[in-house]
Assembly symmetry: C2
Homo-oligomer: 352 residues x 2
């Protein structure tokens, strides 16, 4: 007679994370990425963990504070409904700078091109990148181009790094989330991830889902006018809103509770997610932000956001709590509660 | 009877540069790279040509001047005698910042990793990168990691962007080369390019050639102490000393004349070049600089350089002249003169 099954005693003989090689998930912005940073890069670099928890680093510069951030873009395909790698390379990085409360000033662009890439394709991407920089009000200050052998680099990879000045009195960082704060999302989520995915896999969902990629610094600016004391800003890219909230809860050692029904998920994203077996809250965005705002300022911030074209669909989705520090809890429509876990890797790899 | 051959009337029916696809040479830092920038990137970005002629851009930031530069590193192999892609990724970028006279402050690192790369290899590169940052006195402020499919990215590509403050009164840029100025090289050339090439191709030249990759900001600092009015600094990486001098002559609309015999070419580099059919003056370096210095200050600058470990082999190799603007002329040991042309691409691709 077989022994009774005791799931609590199960252990995996080959834990997923006990690996000696780079896996796709290491680049997904989830728990594997975090482990790579904590266990490999930080010890190798001799850098304090606190320095890397934010979208952008703060650099002191002769009495001023500079926000400094970088991202590489390896999105497949290069063009998707609503955008291209060119827009992403601008908005992805200037948005990280904006998440420190800074207005982006200058951007560097590093192109890694595949030998044989049609110059026409490069020209289209560069034109979109140039237009996006204009829209974001950021100067393309410096650049570099490398060419690698045919068969490498999927056409092209782009890296950008951005800098901006943090206004005096602004102190936005993940560790400032405080019990009693409110959680705001600036608009509908999941559009970017689903747009790229559907293009890549040739999926059609009736209505076409278009990426929402857009610059966020103008929205941040009106939010700061309404409340200089914003506590945390984050743009939920890889790993989506789920990863952003989990990281905020973890770095601030606070709990977050949110209403699942309050999260603005467009019907076409919900439909695509249910076909693909994805959770919209973990799907990447590139024109949305999540803000942790002191309760006393939430009305002023919401008024400023909903009056701005980039934040007109903003909603309060939840609260920061002293309970269950480090853990994000979803309140479902049926009154149940479930724990939201930081994704291990990325539901949709190569999304940015 | 065939017509007499008249080479002067020859023209190429398919000029090398009349192409519609990216070629390896577009990433080589030579004339093809310059054409790509001028004819594709600048019009697409809507950026003034003058903005991109320097190793680093200058960004005004609330009354201060910031030097800002980026480079992607796609070197093959990842490790070579005297260094690795880790050191290159630091020194290559901080040296570009230093060429504006700035002391580098912060660096961003963007890793693009190939799925399946042994974490051990990544760990070694990250450790070397961390050590190099310490040696260069620059903070690794912010980073990003992406993973691409197996078979891409040659193990890894790294992009770094660096920022530094330009001291007051310092105005170093290619257009400041003035007839009468002297041309200084900080030490022996060609070591980095030959070291990478020999490792990649499995060549042996009796004595092992080691890359000279090293940070240059400390040397620049003592040079500025000796002469605040340095006109131009350039680190002769891709395209070597030849490309640097041609670009300075072109952007300053001045001529440059130099003594071929004065250029410090180590015997092992000369030997390797003669076997490989290369010209040492076009081979990449990564720990050397070329300086255009007012004649009245040349003794002070040379004294400061030769007293510093990174510049002890510095030599004056030539002069800036009002003759033949835009053209660099080599004076050979036999009293002849020859025009030095900007290389079309790169003698040794994928060198940084």
């Amino acid at each position: 007679m077989p022994e009774p099954v005791d799931p609590a005693a199960w252990s995996c003989p080959l834990p997923l994370r006990d690996h000696d090689r780079v896996m796709i998930g290491h680049g997904g912005g989830g728990r594997l990425s975090a482990e790579l940073i904590t266990h490999l890069f930080l010890p190798a670099f001799g850098v304090e963990p606190s320095a890397v928890l934010h979208d952008a680093a703060t650099v002191d510069l002769g009495g001023q504070r500079l926000a400094f951030s970088t991202d590489s873009y390896v999105v497949r395909p290069l063009f998707f409904p609503g955008g291209s790698i060119g827009e992403l390379a601008v908005y992805g990085t200037v948005n990280d700078v904006a998440m420190a409360g800074a207005q982006p000033i200058a951007l560097s662009t590093g192109f890694i091109l595949e030998e044989g890439l049609p110059l026409d394709v490069l020209g289209r991407v560069a034109t979109e990148l140039g237009k996006a920089a204009q829209r974001a009000g950021v100067r393309l200050a410096t650049g570099d181009t490398k060419v690698v052998d045919a068969g490498m680099a999927d056409g092209m990879y782009i890296n950008t790094a951005g800098i901006g000045l943090i206004p005096e009195g602004v102190d936005i960082r993940p560790t400032r989330a405080t019990p009693g704060d409110r959680v705001i999302v600036s608009g509908s989520i999941g559009l970017h991830g689903i747009a790229v995915m559907s293009q890549r896999e040739g999926l059609e969902f009736g209505t076409q889902v278009r990426s929402d990629c857009a610059p966020l610094a103008a929205l941040v600016s009106v939010m700061l006018d309404a409340c200089r004391d914003l506590h945390v800003l984050r743009d939920p890219t890889r790993g989506g809103l789920a990863a952003s909230m989990c990281e905020i809860a973890e770095s601030g050692a606070v709990g977050i509770e949110y209403d699942e029904a309050a999260v603005p998920v467009p019907s076409e994203v919900a439909a695509a997610c249910s076909i693909l077996g994805l959770d919209a809250i973990s799907v990447a965005n590139e024109g949305k932000l999540v803000a942790i705002v002191p309760d006393r300022s939430v009305d002023a911030v919401m008024a400023a956001m909903t009056a701005h074209p980039d934040g007109r669909d903003a909603v309060v989705i939840g609260d920061v709590t002293a309970d269950h520090p480090g853990v994000v809890v979803a309140r479902t429509a049926f009154g149940a509660r479930r724990i939201l876990d930081l994704p291990l890797g990325e539901q949709l790899p190569r999304i940015c």
